[in-house]
């Protein structure tokens, strides 16, 4: 009897905190190997490497909580970086170029929102198609070559350090994390997003303006992805159409791994942060242990199938028990 209750509790914890469990497993595993895993430098480096995807994930989370999904962020990411560099190279001031790039991302989000929210199409395939379209646009813009920036100051944005040790990307990520966390937790917009994702019709009947709110969520997602693209372009000092190839799937997987469900209405920015960080830790562990990138791809796939599969499995159990 006690064993049954205890096992149920363990199952429950795993089902809620699959990502945390995965981090713990990886961290315990790394104790047995002599590597530089447990150094402040490595952790800062992991945070910096994860920063771009984390920033994309914050925006995507807003859309997912509303009951949507945004697979076009990969294309938007590439597009944002390329647009910024193109404008800077023809003489725009950096701040203006960044604003225009972010507005471009917001426009992509606007179209996504029109198709998904206003026209009520299924978000998954249509945003996938949108990502493909944007990748084509990026290739046309750059002729499929990497596009270097001619202004050295642009590189400073993502490659400088605060207090002589903290990479600026980590600082941006923390600021955006705080901003998005505040937006989703403590503003009426954020609470409305949860309500819409939880039950669209109930939210509509309670007087929430569902269409503008959900539409805004997609715009936020697009703008954030473009901003992340600008930061990535600054980090690499180039814009390229291949940067976003895996981003869409990876970020959305990371968001779900963290515990934000595609059914909508649950999850949060914090959960998404953890979900993306699991992937980063996994990649870091692999390279620390000297496994080549094929194994990384293999374990990435296994991680995605396992955690999303567990998520489905527990939801199915819940459905059946009701």
């Amino acid at each position: 009897m006690n064993i049954k209750i205890a096992s149920q509790r363990v199952w429950g914890t795993i089902s809620k905190q699959g990502a945390v469990l995965a981090i713990l497993v990886l961290m315990i595993m790394m104790l047995f190997f002599k590597t530089n895993f447990y150094t402040a430098y490595n952790w800062l480096d992991m945070l910096r490497s994860a920063a771009i995807l984390e920033i994309v994930a914050f925006g995507v989370t807003v859309a997912v909580i509303c009951g949507g999904c945004d697979l076009s962020v990969g294309g938007t990411l590439s597009f944002g970086g390329i647009a910024a560099i193109l404008l800077i190279n023809i003489g725009f001031p950096i701040w203006l170029a960044i604003i225009i790039a972010v507005l471009g991302g917001a426009f992509v989000g606007f179209i996504n929102g029109f198709l998904v929210v206003h026209q009520k199409t299924e978000p998954f395939i249509i945003t996938l198609g949108m990502g493909m379209l944007l990748k084509g646009v990026c290739q046309v813009l750059t002729d499929a070559h990497p596009l270097p920036s001619k202004v050295p100051a642009f590189m400073e944005i993502s490659n400088s350090k605060f207090f002589a040790s903290i990479p600026s990307l980590v600082v941006y990520m923390v600021i955006l994390f705080a901003a998005f966390h505040y937006l989703m937790r403590y503003t009426s917009f954020g609470r409305n997003c949860y309500a819409i994702g939880g039950n669209y019709e109930v939210a509509e009947y309670s007087g929430i303006k569902v269409i503008p709110t959900k539409w805004a969520a997609f715009i936020i997602s697009g703008a954030t992805a473009a901003l992340a693209g600008v930061l990535l372009a600054s980090r690499m000092n180039t814009g390229s159409s291949v940067y976003g190839d895996n981003t869409g799937m990876l970020v959305n997987c990371g968001v779900v791994i963290g515990g934000t469900s595609f059914a909508g209405g649950v999850g949060g920015i914090r959960e998404s942060f953890i979900g993306l960080f699991v992937i980063q830790i996994l990649i870091n562990c692999m390279s620390m242990l000297g496994l080549d990138s094929y194994y990384q791809k293999l374990f990435e796939g296994i991680l995605i199938v396992t955690i999303i599969g567990l998520d489905c499995f527990f939801r199915m159990r819940k459905r059946e028990s009701v």
Binding site: G136, L298, G309
Partner: protein, 322 residues
């Protein structure tokens, strides 16, 4: 009475948009570029379009069943690699059969994983099949060490591959004849057998199908197995055509196959559609690509067009249902 006829005309026009598209495309392109309808060009098209029809055929069943299959990327890559590398140990017939069999096994595995975890909504299916695809691609990378396998290097005869790749009977490529036989079988299977009809039932309404006593899980495994077998066949036809196999050769076919299915008029919501419609979709997509080639558009512009067509097709499909 007159209004009735015109309403019926508009409806049938709407339902057969793809036919209208094909005819318009042929007429317009033939006027601008008369080379388009020359027999040399058409033979070329018939030779270059593989493996897309196979993949789209398999994808049709998955989409009619109300799901989606992104794992075709990994399945094509792995099947192709295995088929190419087994020519020496097993002979060409064995190699082809094992490639197709492996495809079926991978498809069954997808279905098995999905039914075990109880993935029912499109989002879950999308991400789990993406994860499976990563796993298959990683295995293919590990097997080949990211090198290109050439069938011309094998010591055993490989004339079946050559026949499939470039052989013709009169004007018609051998692979087209093989494909037409499979197409007829699959069409009859879908229209005339209980298992085929229950796929449609499952796509229309899973709950209802379940409550009526159909084994939804078995149908689900069935559609994924079909998709896997078709990917295996597609992989063999791809290897025959390009005479090489790499671990990344499947990239891009998932979106192209979905594009063909949706353009053909099979609804992404499931339940409705047909094999013949998908073939019209393939025809439209392939002719569009060919006509853009003839008109001298860059491949990047073609990606933009493909993405735009996909987004617009889903949008129109959705509007038809409203």
């Amino acid at each position: 009475m007159k209004r009735d006829i015109s309403a019926r005309f508009t409806r049938s026009l709407r339902n057969n948009l793809v036919l209208v598209g094909i005819i318009a495309l042929i007429v317009v392109t033939a006027i601008i570029e008369p080379k388009f309808i020359s027999s040399a060009n058409l033979t070329n098209v018939m030779r270059q379009l593989w493996p897309l029809p196979f993949i789209a055929l398999g994808m049709t069943f998955v989409i009619i069943g109300g799901f989606i299959d992104l794992s075709v990327v990994g399945m094509i890559s792995l099947s192709g690699v295995v088929a190419a590398s087994l020519i020496n140990p097993l002979g060409q017939v064995g190699a082809i059969l094992s490639g197709i069999l492996l495809g079926g096994m991978m498809g069954y595995l997808n279905g098995f994983v999905l039914t075990t975890v109880g993935a029912m909504i499109q989002a879950e299916v999308l991400f789990i099949t993406f994860g499976m695809s990563s796993i298959y691609t990683a295995i293919a990378l590990l097997l080949t060490n990211a090198e290109t396998l050439r069938i011309a290097r094998s010591t055993k005869p490989y004339n079946i591959f050559t026949a499939l790749g470039s052989g013709t009977v009169g004007m018609i490529p051998v692979v087209l004849i093989v494909f037409l036989v499979i197409l007829v079988i699959m069409h009859l299977f879908y229209k005339k057998t209980l298992a085929g009809r229950s796929i449609s039932l499952m796509g229309g309404n899973k709950e209802a199908a379940f409550l009526t006593g159909y084994n939804v899980k078995r149908s689900m495994r069935l559609v994924y197995t079909i998709s896997g077998i078709m990917s295996g066949m597609g992989a063999v036809s791809l290897v025959s055509r390009v005479t090489t196999a790499t671990a990344t050769s499947g990239i891009g076919y998932e979106t192209n196959a979905i594009l063909c299915v949706v353009v053909g008029g099979t609804s992404l919501k499931g339940g409705k559609g047909s094999v013949i419609r998908t073939m019209l979709g393939v025809l439209l997509v392939v002719l569009l690509g060919n006509c853009m080639n003839l008109l001298g558009l860059s491949t990047f512009m073609q990606t933009v067009m493909r993405g735009a067509v996909l987004v617009i097709a889903i949008w129109l499909d959705n509007r038809r249902e409203l």
